[in-house]
């Protein structure tokens, strides 16, 4: 009994020496240290923009300064048509992305599990991914006319391959030892997929979803400028009208909206998901 108690103490001693001491940092410090580099970057970008305007390179009715564009953006926020446009665009983005996620995931899953499929269409998927989505629009308009379906079609073709590729590389990069562990522990059937393959492939899959979102957003913007549907106000439509009216401030205000939505989705949704997954697995280094 005495020997056993000594052993317990030995183990606890080793454990105490081996485990990292977790320092808790002040929440305010954490937020500030993440925020100030971003604030600095924004300030620098606005300053550069303002300097170019001051240099008189272009007249201000073509290249307005940040102050004019930002106040224009502020006045957009007070119009209900602006919110309708944003909601139509976001609806399309979410529907298209969801459809791309479902189809891309099914395709990726099939290819990751079948050698024949991989040989046959593995490189085709990568080829599709490198194809600029705008090259699909003439075809899409020919087939689907100027309709929601045309836009959706191009979003799925833009985002689907990236998502499929993400899942394939996620499955390919599962450490073989985890698969062996899963087998030894008796994971079979659905449990094998749900508790071993899927979580093990998750980092690559989320990276694919993140990239897929970027492709979907780009395809959507191209689509909204090309495929104008009456009675469907959207960010793309407002962008195009501002251009046609030679309304430079309105044009740039809309571009800022596109940029903000892109950054917000990437950072707040996919980036946060990715960071959480990597942190839980100890794959996140201190610099992020």
């Amino acid at each position: 009994m005495v020997a056993s108690r000594t052993l317990d103490t030995d183990l606890r001693g080793l454990d105490a020496l081996d485990t990292p001491r977790i320092e808790s940092r002040n929440r305010g410090v954490v937020v500030w240290s993440a925020a100030w580099p971003k604030l600095l970057a924004i300030t620098l970008a606005l300053a550069t923009w303002q300097v170019i305007v001051w240099s008189g390179w272009k007249p201000t009715y073509i290249l307005p300064g940040p102050q004019e564009v930002l106040s224009r953006l502020g006045s957009e926020f007070t119009h209900s048509t602006f919110y309708r446009a944003v909601s139509v665009t976001l609806q399309r983005a979410v529907t298209g992305f969801a459809l791309a996620a479902v189809l891309g995931s099914l395709l990726g899953l099939a290819v990751s599990q079948s050698r024949i499929l991989r040989r046959g269409i593995g490189s085709l998927i990568t080829g599709l991914q490198t194809m600029p989505s705008i090259t699909w629009f003439p075809f899409a308009i020919l087939v689907f006319k100027l309709s929601e379906a045309a836009i959706l079609f191009v979003i799925v073709l833009g985002a689907g391959p990236a998502i499929a590729n993400g899942l394939i590389s996620g499955v390919d990069h599962i450490p073989p030892i985890l698969l062996r562990a899963g087998r030894v522990l008796g994971a079979r059937g659905l449990a094998w997929w749900r508790h071993v393959i899927f979580p093990a492939a998750l980092p690559g899959y989320v990276a694919g979803l993140k990239q897929g979102w970027a492709f979907a957003w780009r395809s959507l913007m191209a689509g909204e400028i090309l495929v104008i549907i009456a009675s469907r106000p959207s960010i793309g439509v407002r962008l195009k009208f501002a251009y046609e009216m030679a309304d430079a401030a309105g044009l740039m205000a809309m571009m800022l909206v596109v940029l903000f939505i892109g950054i917000a989705m990437d950072g707040l949704v996919f980036g946060a998901m990715e960071r959480r997954i990597l942190r839980n697995r100890g794959l996140l280094t201190g610099s992020r």
Partner: protein, 263 residues
């Protein structure tokens, strides 16, 4: 040592209560010129509750044998009878699921066997206490040291409710002090249970420290060349003179086996 053609090979009769009976097992990797005979006509009996250390130099097919017993690889020839016992396997790497906490890792082994949730929770707590990690249940594997991860892996292997535990150099990657403490812990857990352990190692002292019996395998192809019964009373110490003395004898025999390949 192969029996001449036409004569039935003589084999030791299986021990009463043998947990693992390995009969004339052969395994070859690859085919044609590049093929490697990993195991050739290997015979071994392990009694229920016995702690057997398999010792050999590189290429003796130690890991192959464990994978065959666990049913991960297919046997080319011969048979392995584990009498329907449940088998757990531990690797040199902890191979914990990095997306789960320590608790969830142990729990998952039971979830795969469809053990009811309430039962799982109680058993997880019990097993983590057994390996002295009860205060680390909510930690993630990457936050733990190699030795602690390997103890979680041990708890997870025990959660399989195995009668036979196969261990493939489980402490090979650990520092000497941690390894010594884990030897004590493994011995304690094994003594308190009726677990049969097959422990693969290339460390002679480790084999003598832990085993009831040390089985020496030859290399390329792997066969049983020698066996040592370890009569040293437990609990043992790896640095005790009696362990060192037997280890020296075994080492000589292992060296002789290795030298054969240099001639």
């Amino acid at each position: 040592m192969r029996a001449p053609a036409g004569v039935a090979p003589t084999r030791r009769s299986p021990q009463a209560g043998a947990a693992v009976a390995i009969r004339g097992v052969s395994k070859t990797y690859g085919d044609g010129r590049s093929s490697v005979v990993a195991l050739d006509d290997l015979n071994l009996d392990v009694a229920g509750g016995e702690f057997v250390c398999l010792l050999g130099a590189s290429g003796c097919g130690k890991s192959t044998l464990l994978n065959l017993i666990a049913g991960i690889y297919r046997i080319d020839q011969g048979s392995i009878d584990t009498g329907g016992h449940r088998i757990g396997l531990m690797f040199q790497e902890p191979a914990l699921f990095p997306w789960l906490t320590v608790e969830q890792n142990v729990d998952m082994a039971m979830q795969f066997r469809a053990v009811p949730r309430a039962q799982r929770r109680a058993r997880t707590a019990e097993l983590l206490a057994l390996v002295n990690l009860d205060s680390f249940g909510t930690w993630r594997p990457h936050q733990l040291s190699g030795g602690m991860q390997q103890r979680v892996a041990l708890a997870r292997a025990l959660a399989q409710d195995a009668d036979i535990l196969l261990m493939d150099e489980p402490f090979g990657a650990l520092d000497a002090m941690t390894r010594d403490v884990l030897h004590d812990e493994l011995e304690r857990i094994w003594q308190a249970s009726d677990l049969t352990v097959l422990f693969v190692t290339h460390n002679v002292r480790e084999a003598v420290r832990l085993g009831d019996r040390v089985v020496l395998l030859s290399s390329r192809p792997g066969r049983v060349v020698d066996e040592y019964s370890v009569g040293i009373p437990r609990p043992r110490r790896i640095d005790s003179p009696s362990v060192a003395e037997l280890a020296a004898t075994v080492t000589d025999s292992l060296r002789e086996e290795v030298r054969r390949h240099g001639r």
